[in-house]
């Protein structure tokens, strides 16, 4: 790959040293959310609605409070009123007010001296409900007779005459789509549906909160973003942000689902009522599945015009998405711009609506909106390629967006690597393997914007010349290793001499969470800037000692050196020497950088999957899987490969078996991993990866984000492979054996 050329010249960037968190994790020493405890701590349990939609008529906690050891109960009545917008949504989701809006919606919480006692007490809290009609399917929720979930929730964007559950509307585009369709040789349309899926992180949400009567609090929590936890918890409870100090734990997966609050403020509210004793709350898997944020479910219409040679002349989409019973939670705003982002198409029309349904409040999930959009658009592209007997990679190359292309959503792309991923996929040996009976191959491409965002990083030189970097983005994918590599590369010291710590909210300015594939990009960029600042200071210290101008000192190989013969003849002064005497030369040496990181580089990927489908049971076996993606620069290639494989694995689960199964009563039926079927290790082949490196000019080492794009192509790629293997095209996920078998039988009968 191009990799070697590009990373040539780097000493550390592009190598694969041991991860700094590895030993702690394999020895069990790493402290995850649920590992944290304090003396005098109470345990909390949450009372949840068993109904999808119900009026809460009465809550009686007297029996629970009468138990010895029960210290506090909180309901919505204990929380401040008068919140608006997303703050109100967050509060409403933390504890239901007048109505329970989904099965599992929190209604009350209790704190007691043991976990068992708290659970017993929760069962004793009596809640009287008036059950209301409910709706969980996005298309059903828009139909005339559907129960109204929130009266008057729609914003100004919604055209008149739509059902009150339709709360947001978006549209944009360019060119003349009708002319585009008229110029096409074939115009095809399809409707595609995806079910909600959960991030499936292994570590359930866990948190210890402590708050005194004075409204000052602390929280230890498993999260992707502790400043968000601080801001959201403060808003829900009506306290000041600076009075809440939040420390993140090691994190057992998040994938976007831990960028927001679910039950965290309850620990503070309970603690305050219980005289300031710390309160611990750990969700069960069933609570995670019922009451934390999955991604949206979607119903999507696509129309594409194509010439016989594969040139796309126009495209049009209409997406309907539900993100639960809360406004603003469906990713329509991301799904639409992602829909045609891979292509340079003269005429496009995008339209979407957000619809409320009696489901949990959706959260971000790896490239929110993009996998659904890709399932719809890439599936139809594939159907049209097959109809016209065109190679799917050639058609994508013909229409591919490149540097200078005006993207489907407006901005002009700078240097991007979609074409390189397509070329690499075409050249990969997997693409040439001949397939046997009942086997099929699918190809799809995918896109994610990536994100910069608010970032604050500090770096300090130790007395021995080692370097400590304080970052505010929890490490969910190897960012500590990558940031250590970039810092060590910049300063010219060994990787082992840099320790990167994720620090609490009291230690840095506001950091956005680790979302949008931004940690290695944004915290990395800020760490490099902070390192440069520290280097400049170290050069000044050396200059002062040598009594020459700071400009006459340059930094090389971890030491200050005279810049050229005119600067004077001094032996290099190493970072260790400078650190040892910094107390006497002006005090501690540090660097600091804060930014709303610009220069983001989008990441494109192309996947190729081969499957075999059992024609008698509809069961799909993934034979081999190839991920090709542009990383910009792979700072730590093993982690990049891990992200590619992880994205593909989650995408395979979404495509084949994962789904939220609701009963006719609106209750979620599959609340444990036995029935919420994420792939197990033996379901997956070793996922092959190719790292394409088209450096991002907006980052000192060329980093793009790599975390999210990888979940985007698997959905359509698998649908294409199954279509080739069986002759039956599935337009609704998951492509579980019963659905595939039914499609095969329908095909045979036709």
């Amino acid at each position: 790959m191009a990799k070697d050329e590009i990373t040539k010249g780097y000493r550390l960037v592009g190598t694969r040293p041991n991860r700094p968190d590895g030993l702690d994790k394999v020895t069990g020493r790493a402290r995850y959310g649920a590992d944290f405890s304090l003396p005098g701590m109470l345990w909390a349990a949450v009372v949840r609605s068993p109904h999808a939609h119900a009026k809460i008529k009465r809550i009686d906690a007297s029996k629970a409070l009468a138990l010895d050891g029960v210290k506090a109960v909180v309901t919505r009545a204990d929380l401040p009123t008068g919140l608006e917008g997303e703050d109100l949504n967050l509060q409403e989701n933390t504890l239901a007010g007048e109505k329970a809006l989904y099965d599992g919606h929190a209604v009350a919480a209790v704190a007691a001296t043991s976990q068992l006692l708290a659970q017993d007490a929760a069962r004793l809290i009596e809640v009287e409900y008036e059950v209301l009609p409910h709706v969980t399917d996005v298309d059903e929720a828009m139909k005339p007779g559907a129960p109204v979930i929130r009266e008057g929730a729609a914003d100004y964007s919604v055209p008149e005459g739509m059902h009150p559950n339709v709360v947001r509307h978006m549209e944009f585009g360019h060119g003349d789509v009708e002319a585009g369709f008229a110029a096409a040789d074939i115009v095809r349309e399809g409707t595609y549906k995806t079910e909600a899926t959960h991030q499936g992180y292994i570590e359930p949400h866990a948190c210890v909160g402590q708050m005194g009567e004075d409204g000052r609090g602390e929280m230890w929590v498993c999260t992707q973003g502790h400043w968000y936890i601080r801001r959201m918890s403060a808003a829900v409870l009506g306290i000041e942000a600076a009075n809440l100090r939040v420390t993140p734990s090691e994190i057992g997966g998040g994938f976007g689902g831990k960028t927001t609050i679910f039950m965290e403020p309850l620990t503070l509210a309970l603690s305050k009522k219980a005289g300031g004793r710390p309160v611990k709350l750990v969700m069960s898997r069933a609570e995670v599945l019922r009451a934390t944020g999955p991604t949206a479910s979607a119903s999507m219409d696509v129309k594409i015009g194509m010439k016989k040679d594969g040139t796309v002349t126009a495209g049009q989409v209409m997406f309907r998405m539900q993100g639960g019973a809360f406004v603003g939670m469906s990713p329509i705003g991301e799904a639409l711009p992602c829909a045609f982002a891979c292509y340079d198409i003269p005429a496009l029309k995008h339209e979407a609506v957000e619809v409320l349904a009696n489901r949990p409040k959706a959260a971000a999930y790896r490239a929110p909106g993009s996998p659904m959009a890709a399932f719809a658009v890439e599936s139809l592209m594939d159907e049209m390629c097959r109809e016209l007997h065109l190679d799917p990679i050639e058609v994508r190359l013909k229409n591919a967006a490149k540097e200078g292309t005006k993207s489907s959503y407006g901005p002009i792309y700078n240097r991007i690597g979609l074409v390189e991923t397509l070329e690499a996929a075409k050249a990969h040996p997997n693409y040439a393997i001949r397939l046997g009976p009942n086997q099929g191959r699918g190809v799809a491409s995918g896109f994610w914007f990536n994100h910069g965002g608010e970032t604050s990083v500090s770096l300090a030189i130790g007395e021995d010349g080692t370097v400590q970097v304080s970052i505010g983005t929890p490490d969910i994918g190897g960012s500590r290793a990558s940031i250590a590599l970039m810092t060590a590369e910049t300063i010219g010291i060994p990787y082992e001499n840099v320790r990167v710590n994720v620090v609490e909210t009291g230690a840095l300015g506001v950091n956005e969470p680790t979302h949008g594939s931004r940690a290695t990009f944004a915290s990395g960029k800020a760490a490099v800037e902070a390192a440069r600042q520290a280097i400049a200071e170290m050069c000044r210290r050396a200059a002062a000692e040598w009594e020459i101008e700071p400009e006459a000192v340059e930094w090389k190989d971890g030491a200050a050196q005279p810049a050229g013969p005119n600067a004077g003849k001094f032996p290099p002064m190493t970072i260790a020497e400078i650190g040892a005497k910094m107390g006497g030369t002006g005090g501690p040496i540090s660097g600091h950088h804060e930014t709303n990181a610009g220069g983001v580089g989008a990441s494109f990927g192309t996947h190729v999957v081969d499957v075999e489908v059992d024609p008698e049971t509809g069961r799909t076996t993934v034979l081999r899987y190839l991920v090709v993606q542009d990383a910009g620069t792979a700072i730590h290639p093993a982690y990049v490969e891990g992200q590619y494989q992880g994205g593909a694995a989650q995408g395979i689960g979404w495509a084949l078996n994962e789904e939220y199964v609701y009963g006719s009563d609106g209750r979620l039926q599959n609340t444990v991993f036995l029935d919420y079927r994420i792939p197990v290790a033996s379901d997956l082949p070793m996922i092959d990866t190719v790292i394409v490196e088209v450096p991002n000019p907006g980052h000192p080492y060329g980093v793009r984000g790599v975390g999210e794009t990888g979940i985007t192509p698997p959905l359509p790629a698998l649908a294409a492979a199954i279509a080739e293997a069986t002759g039956a095209r599935l337009r609704s996920l998951p492509m579980s054996p019963p659905k595939v078998l039914a499609a095969i039988k329908a095909k045979r009968q036709a």
Binding site: T617, L656, V661, F673, D675, V680, D683, P737, A742
Partner: protein, 288 residues
């Protein structure tokens, strides 16, 4: 909750007969302990059977069959070469249960008495014609395995009764059995359909056969029509078609989160057919 460790089945039975509340026996605990932790069951009496002598033994019976203790875990069945040679289908059913960790504990009797229609070891036991010894406070009796489950989560055992052993009949020459289950994944899932076939040969022809289906009715089904469909045949395509049709016809499943009626009916036939082929090849000595 009271926890008991009786040292004989009579004592266990007396404890059970005397108990007034909710009772569970503790064999491997891979159902009971999980249910307790999930808050689904809060027993008043928990009677651990693992302190009774002999419960971990696998022994030959006088007539050449096998007697399996009630605490023998799946792992031990799989490690027993002679038993695996005689009853590979029974063992493979039990060995599909759970993971390595679960295999170290989970038992045949626990799987049977938990009463799940999808229990993986039960179709194999039924097809094999296995029996269980039921010990009560006063006496013991022998019952066929298929008579134990009566509905999901329910058994025919009366108050004070428990199972003290599983007995497999003699294998005899030219016999073979097999069990297959359908799950959407490769592991850690619950059978959407299960099928076991046990048969003996006379020459190339099937002399006797038993076919059992799991997860397609409230209890495991012993399907006589399916057995009749292949008895006397050399398991040619026509016989296999008849077997599949009879198996599908016998399936009376429900649609739920794990599969639809239509799917289960179809796949019952498919699996019966595939299991029969494996059992036939094993009986001829050509299979694995």
């Amino acid at each position: 909750m009271r926890y008991h460790t009786p040292t004989s089945f009579q004592e266990a039975s007396r404890l059970a007969a005397a108990s007034g509340g909710l009772l569970r026996y503790l064999a491997g605990g891979t159902d009971v302990l999980v249910q307790m932790r999930a808050g689904m069951v809060q027993p008043d009496e928990l009677i651990d059977l693992k302190h009774i002598p002999g419960v971990f033994d696998i022994s030959r019976t006088a007539d050449g069959g096998w007697r399996i203790g009630v605490a023998v875990p799946g792992r031990a069945l799989g490690a027993h070469e002679a038993l695996c040679r005689d009853w590979p289908g029974v063992v493979e059913g039990m060995n599909l249960v759970g993971s390595t960790q679960v295999q170290g504990r989970a038992t045949l009797v626990g799987n049977l008495c938990n009463g799940s229609p999808a229990a993986d070891s039960v179709p194999g036991l039924v097809a094999a014609g296995a029996t269980v010894t039921v010990t009560g406070p006063d006496s013991s009796r022998e019952m066929p395995v298929e008579a134990i489950p009566t509905a999901p989560g329910r058994t025919a055992l009366k108050k004070g009764e428990l199972i003290s052993a599983v007995t497999l009949p003699p294998r005899g020459p030219r016999g073979g059995d097999a069990y297959l289950r359908f799950i959407p994944r490769t592991e850690m899932d619950i059978a959407v359909v299960g099928a076991a076939v046990n048969l003996t040969l006379d020459g190339d022809r099937i002399a006797t056969a038993r076919v059992a289906l799991g997860a397609v009715a409230p209890t495991v089904l012993l399907v006589e029509e399916a057995a009749k469909a292949i008895i006397g045949s050399t398991l040619d395509d026509a016989a296999l078609d008849r077997l599949a049709a009879a198996s599908s016809a016998a399936a009376k499943p429900i649609s739920d989160k794990r599969g639809t009626v239509e799917f289960r009916v179809d796949v019952a036939g498919v699996l019966a057919r595939r299991a029969a082929q494996i059992a036939y090849d094993r009986a001829k000595g050509t299979g694995k």
